[in-house]
Amino acid sequence: MNVRPLEFRTARSTAEATALWAEVPDAYYLAGGTDLLIQMRLGRRSPARLIDLKRIPGLSAIEVRGDGALSIGACVPLGVIAAHPEVRARYPLLAECCLAVGSYPVRNRATMAGNVCNASPAADTAAALLALEAAVEASGPNGDVVLPLAGFFQGPGKTVLPAGALVTALVLPAKAAGCRGSFHRLSRRRGVDLATLGVLVGRHAAGGAGAHRVVLTAVAPTPLRVPAAEALLDRQGAAAAAQAAEAARAACKPIDDVRGTAQYRREMVGVLVARAAAALG
């Protein structure tokens, strides 16, 4: 599969994992492997060493912290996240986005940290994570860092994660609990294909100014929040659905590819934002 000899190492702690990464050039962390193994097969990545993270104790836990935030370990598979009672009760939009990824067997392997680190513009979990203002916790060669998901994505496959840093958890703040709305996603084959585009419209429980979230996927180099559309919904609620849709159409920068044309994507962003905003009631 790999074009050069591959070494497989199992890390037992985050410190061991980052040390194994630093030892050789072209080392890659391995979580579910649902992106990485395919990229290796296509020749887009050719690691000299894979560092398996799944046996690091602690990375497979979902925990409520003292401040009420929910921490989701980097190696928890998407299927487990979507079924978790805390996620379903407090962050239903995240459960919905996790279930949008791949098929049932894929979700038994694929992780949210992998989805975020792979940084596809179409990453489904990014829609909810941006709306909920999640934070990425990582452990790197130069110590631990906490990075807001806002600003994390820099372009297709590019993030601000320092080289060699290992994401340990994604953390959802307590204040984002109860954010409701819907995620609308178009794809060529439901259940397996990446999104042609995705639209999430949500409203935080506290209401008032700053309560709305409009997030778009697969219509720009990164998943995208649209503050102009959010502000319109903050002021006028569902009555501003059509204007919010127009603001989202203006904000997106879609491209033509095998999944759809730029024009189709822009049109559908308008349709889906209007629909999701109206559904907020």
Binding site: M1, N2, P5, L6, E7, F8, T10, L30, G32, G33, T34, L37, I38, M40, R41, L50, D52, K54, G79, G102, S103, Y104, P105, V106, N108, R109, R190, G191, V192
Partner: protein, 163 residues
Amino acid sequence: MTQRITVRVNGIPETAEVAPDRTLLTFLREDLDLTGAKEGCNEGECGACVVLVDRKPINACLMLAVEADGREVVTIEGLAKDGVLHPLQRKFLEHQALQCGFCTPGMILTTLGLLAENPSPSEGEVRRALSGNLCRCTGYRQILDAVQDAAAELRGTGKGAAR
């Protein structure tokens, strides 16, 4: 460079030397001669390669054999006991839920995972769980019927899908 792994496959401990880039699918098919799991697409899209690892259905084409070290794998070959088919296998036959049979091992193992989590799935839940499994022959109706019939039988015996 190879690595030594020990995997329980259909209840039998197997120790082997494998190259780190060998997939679990290739390991099962070529090293253990368990050809029930099929290679359809080799990229996670078709579900023909699905096996259970620690009781969860996964795409064996997207997992390395070395990742299975210490794990428990169940393939279609492990379902029948003493020549008696698992109820789900029998229901697939009764409902003619297979023609060429290429998709069948993956369909059955994915369904077993679903029924272990949810013994009474709605048709919509079965359709969603099987959305990563392609069948080019049956048109799916017979598969959905076989799954519901088997689920009812498994509920009746109180044995559930797990064995």
